[in-house]
């Protein structure tokens, strides 16, 4: 009796919770349909929905350029990060290299680092490298900043791999690189794909590096571009809402396609981090 009572309470609670979660999205959507330049109040379905706002926002926000730029940045960051973090995780977690523990602890040191802590010297460093206002200004630092978590993550996978596996391959005369590339990387696929999802998401949504290191919104990440869009169109609420919705659509689509992997990756990611 109390059991069914509690499960009903639970159901109601869940529905309320979901409503609170989607409320901001609904509000964005409804507001985006109001006439451009108006100042609509609260949640109110417009008498004459302006679907054209989305097309206009797409145009004035230059969304096509932003999408291309974000994809280029993700392609620059994620594959390289995955490869070098997997190599480092393999070495510190499986090869028992001398000094491996010290190197690993050095990486762990960076796990809680707030990006704001190093953004100032990073700016001057990137400037001296002549990379300011290029996509490299976001790509190269992000790879470095992702190393603590990525190495930690991949090492956690490699310490669970049995040593017999490598021993028997060694007997067959396999080099260390072949052992890594032919045997261990294929076995690490689940860990790798979760890490890939996390890195994609963090890169796509990266804001601070984008606004500090790149002035030109068309060379930024999606989140950085949204910041610039807000600065430019912040007074035209319906247009801002339409633009915001469009800008968060790509991640939403990717999330809905891969949602099961996403959820487990994010849960595991925060548990380990």
């Amino acid at each position: 009796m109390t059991g069914t009572g509690r499960s009903l309470t639970g159901r109601i609670l869940l529905v309320v919770l979901m409503a609170a979660t989607v409320l901001p999205f609904v509000s964005l959507f409804v507001t985006a349909l109001h006439p451009s330049g108006s100042y609509p109040s609260g949640l109110e379905w417009p008498s004459d929905p302006q679907w054209g706002n989305f097309a206009r926002a797409f145009e004035v926000a230059r969304l096509g350029e932003f999408l291309k730029s974000s994809v280029l940045i993700v392609l620059g960051v994620v594959p390289v990060s995955l490869l070098i973090a997997t190599m480092a995780g393999f070495a510190t977690g499986h090869l028992r290299m001398p000094g491996g523990r010290a190197v690993f602890l050095l990486f762990v040191l960076g796990l809680t680092l707030p990006f704001e802590g190093i953004i100032t010297p990073l700016y001057f460093q990137v400037r001296d490298m002549g990379l300011l206002n290029t996509r490299w200004a976001i790509i190269l630092p992000l790879i470095g900043l992702y190393m603590p978590f990525s190495v930690y993550w991949m090492r956690a996978h490699f310490v669970t791999m049995p040593h017999e596996l490598s021993e028997s391959a060694r007997v067959d005369g396999v080099s260390t690189w072949q052992l890594f590339w032919r045997i261990h990387v294929p076995l690490a696929k689940p860990a790798l794909s979760s890490l890939a999802i996390l890195l994609f998401l963090w890169t796509w949504n990266q804001f601070l590096l984008a606004i500090v290191l790149v002035d030109e919104p068309a060379k930024r990440t999606m989140a950085g571009a949204l910041g610039a869009f807000q600065g430019q169109w912040g007074t035209d609420i319906p247009l801002l809402c339409a633009g915001s919705l469009l800008i968060l659509t790509p991640t939403l689509v990717v999330f809905l396609i891969f949602q099961r992997r996403f959820v487990s990756a994010l849960l595991a990611g925060s548990l380990k981090g």
């Binding site: 979660t21 964005l28 990073l122 040593h163 999330f255």
Partner: protein
């Protein structure tokens, strides 16, 4: 070589997964340098783009520098400024106040909610909820900030709801009033983090032995006793994770504040990240910006390490 091949050919004994120490020493000598080659690329990126900037931040924090001209030794002057200038130390206090919202609400409310919906955690509704509750984690914080700025505005949905509930008197521009702006920013953070905490707690609860709950029921324990005697101790690790993640999010907050209030009204919602950004890139005061950055990095470590230690201790 023959010895190790004999070992491999022998049927594996469960206790020798790691192998005897003698063999380990031999192997490490053989693969030692290869190991360093494997670590090198990651280490180089990390050293150039993280370790070097950390060292430089510390170095800058002892100088007066505008980023262009000559720099001048300032000793601890920049640190004195951080703790003497109300605008700067207020930003640190604000970050701690945000912890109440970013950590307090998601962890406490999240625990209560997770405990309530534990029984229906495998229903179809709960599966849908799993996806929905994750949405705030997926979108850029900037987008969350923009959406909530609109919700919390004078004519926004929050006030509309309050009026509908007969609370029309308390409606206001929540982010524009210096007495409510910081809590309002906190609510945005709580919205972002609540779903993550609930799902972490639920996945932790699924690992608690159901027999414990059975036993508690037979002993006549009520819902509340059950919660404190079984659920909370069983979730120790998950609670530690949520507290850590949310506290870092609060102390290092930037995106949400930047788009929703930009530190205003007045200085009511400045946070260290925002002050560092303004000092370094608008006011060209690299020294104080770096001193504040060092303080921020130390504060984060000082707050996170004890939590890690408590939650990783062996369960009683």
């Amino acid at each position: 070589m023959t010895r190790s091949s004999n070992l491999v050919a022998a049927p594996p004994r469960p206790s020798t997964v790691v192998g005897p120490p003698a063999r380990r020493r031999r192997r490490s000598r053989r693969t030692g340098w290869a190991g360093w080659l494997f670590v090198a690329p990651a280490l180089i990126f990390y050293a150039v783009f993280v370790l070097r900037p950390i060292v430089l931040t510390v170095q800058y924090s002892f100088y007066d520098w505008n980023g262009i001209g000559a720099s001048r030794w300032a000793g601890f002057g920049n640190y004195t400024k951080v703790f003497a200038d109300p605008e700067l130390y207020d930003s640190i206090l604000h970050a701690f106040e945000l912890i109440l919202f970013f950590s307090g609400i998601p962890v406490l409310l999240g625990l209560a909610i997770a405990a309530t919906i534990r029984r229906i955690a495998t229903s179809r509704l709960a599966l849908v909820a799993r996806t929905v509750l994750f949405l705030p984690q997926v979108i850029p914080l900037v987008a969350a900030g923009i959406a909530w700025t609109w919700l919390l505005s004078a004519t926004g949905v929050v006030n509309q709801l309050l009026s509908a509930l007969g609370l029309g008197k308390v409606t206001k521009a929540w982010l524009g009033d210096s007495s409510t702006a910081l809590p309002a920013v906190g609510v945005i953070g709580a919205w972002v983090l609540l779903g993550l905490c609930i799902l972490l707690f639920l996945s932790g609860m699924s690992k608690i032995d159901p027999a414990l709950y059975e036993a508690a029921r037979i002993d006549g324990a009520g819902v509340v006793r059950e919660f404190f005697a079984i659920t909370v101790p069983g979730l120790r690790q998950e609670i530690g994770v949520c507290v850590t993640v949310t506290m870092i999010a609060a102390l290092a907050s930037f995106d949400i504040v930047y788009v929703s209030t930009q530190g205003g009204p007045g200085n009511a919602t400045t946070v260290p990240g925002l002050e560092i950004y303004y000092l370094a890139f608008s006011q060209r005061e690299v020294g104080p910006a770096s001193a504040l950055a060092v303080v921020l990095m130390v504060v984060v470590l000082a707050v996170v390490l004890p939590v890690q230690r408590i939650s990783k201790e062996d369960k009683p």
